[in-house]
């Protein structure tokens, strides 16, 4: 684990995405109409993702535990693709990119888990960092 004792606290944000691709419009309708048998897919996956962001250092050996001071989770539907956007903020010595990416992956996996009884063709794509600020280099995905 990298030594960060000499670094300064700064506000750091990261936005990560995951794409959940379903195989039919019926699946999108069931999510929006809240008729999926396991429950409200967006609300429950948000709960899982909020917890998942906080558990990142429990899963990744080199990841520093840090004070998660904000997590926001949004969904955007575009045809058969649902874009999951996870924004994380901290004021600490190291960034929250991996936390945001882990949160996005947990939200996407939970959607998969809740939807698999009604749709066998779901795939998870493009888990990636879209934007980060704070720290020595900012970054913005050029294709965003």
């Amino acid at each position: 684990m990298v030594d960060i004792t000499h670094k300064s606290n700064t506000l750091r944000t990261a936005i990560a995405q995951a794409i959940v691709k379903v195989s039919s419009q019926e699946t999108i309708d069931a999510i929006q109409n809240k008729t999926v048998p396991k429950g409200d897919v967006f609300a429950m996956s948000k709960a899982a993702g909020l917890l998942g962001v906080k558990k990142t250092p429990d899963l990744l050996p080199d990841c520093h535990p840090l004070p998660i001071e904000y997590t926001g989770i949004e969904y955007k539907i575009d045809g058969l693709e649902i874009k999951v956007l996870v924004t994380v903020k901290t004021i600490y010595k190291t960034g929250v990119e991996v936390e945001a990416m882990h949160g996005a992956s947990v939200v996407a996996l939970n959607m998969y888990d809740m939807l698999k009884p009604i749709d066998k063709g779901i795939e998870l794509h493009h888990i990636k960092l879209l934007e980060k600020t704070g720290g020595k280099s900012s970054f913005k995905d050029k294709f965003r």
Copy 2:
């Protein structure tokens, strides 16, 4: 959570993949030559993935806790893409698809976390189920 009290134990296996796409051959070389500063990327990510598979029901609300009786993790390098393959087996009433997919995502995220100091352009793709056996329907990804 779905009621599985009436179901029978059968041998169930699932194989999931994740693709880690790096941005240059130098990254692949550093992994293979074990010169990545954070350590041996394949061995440490395998450790993270073995633990991650077991933690799936801690992260996903509807996922049943179950006896993980085998987890295997393999890596295949193809140009700038590294395919992570996670195989999980259980003898239980419900399958291990989500466990395998979660394991694949943790391995991929850990590779990202260990590699980001040397490669800023890593993306995670195609986290999906490749194959499952046991339970009421077997499945094999047609493009595998």
Copy 3:
């Protein structure tokens, strides 16, 4: 921890309750209309409770880890009181009473956590076992 190696697997169910008492009808309305700023209180608390049931043996030293084969979470509104009902099932050597009660307490605490910005007078009451079946003695709360 009690030795259960000599016991037999039987189907066991437990139903526990918790009462969340809010201080005004506005709070009830906000829950039902899904206008609570932190999100959908019932769906997110259900997610927390499903995870909480599974984490019971992580929190209580003498509690045996066991296969949770069903968890159901229901809400009943009666005036300013919301009754949380958690049903848990297993086929194992020991019962799931404490798991159901822990689930009920986590659901209730999460409702408190989500509602405290809009209602300062929330109390949690009567976390208790309502019913259990299986094992050497069945039980039914006489006042249910």
Copy 4:
């Protein structure tokens, strides 16, 4: 999860209670004489509660992880009722009310779990905040 990046660190304390109501004086005697078969109920439940306070953000999605700088656990016996008092302190941007309430509920549940072999009539009552200081509003339960 609420954004707290703009808030200042202040000393914050919270005291929460839970009431464990047993059904006979024999149970109280067994606790005090340390003759409960599962062990010393007060000491072991204190251990569970100290761990439970720290695990609050693992269980409640919107709860910020924060530095727990003190937890104290006290018991007061009054007839057949045992009052569990949990005091938590932090110096951080947000309070520890829910942490104290979760700690009180874990202590109470563990007492229930250790006592159920000798007393089938235990109930948990009145898990509530008694007092908080620090942050924008202090609070003291008027009936305390």
Copy 5:
């Protein structure tokens, strides 16, 4: 992780020990008289150890999750040495040696943590398996 899908369930037990060596008789007296400021060292370390046994597969990547059906924790004082004995039982396809050893190490570490304010010279020794039964080979430490 080794594939155990083909193995049969048998009763398996393991007994592990750890030695906690303190530096003065005053420490032993404080433990026995329950005057250690942090609380009852034996009861609280037992609680930590019971939880620790169950968390073994969360910490060790290759360790199979399994049903812990009994854990017993005993202490034997011999001069300045306290022997911690942890017995674990399961009926499963693989043994509980590492679980017993992890439990012994957690009990010993917790004793260290509770005692360090009053004794700066504590060491932990001889964490080892004393006995195992069940599985393809039984074992008994010859020096026990």
Copy 6:
């Protein structure tokens, strides 16, 4: 849990050791040649230890959660003994001795778990603090 709200942040380091004693040179060779069937013992045990350090407050009731800002894990082979050295740093109000000792014990236990299929005579010894700096008293083991 000790109240640390009045204490100041200082840089604190701790170095702990564990000794893993194997029973034959073949075991040492298998570790060095990376021919142990379960995988690369040093890299995977390092991953387990990095996670283990962070989980210390989840296992020990009185241990404060704190920002782990560095963990380093080293191995030194001397005949049939492997010395595991774990260095932990924080800038906080309380030290990281127990975290370093827990990390050392998890690394050692994982080595045991990975090696037991090829060596039945492994013991873990001398888990102890070698050095600490920061806080009101520094300390250096005189025999180091």
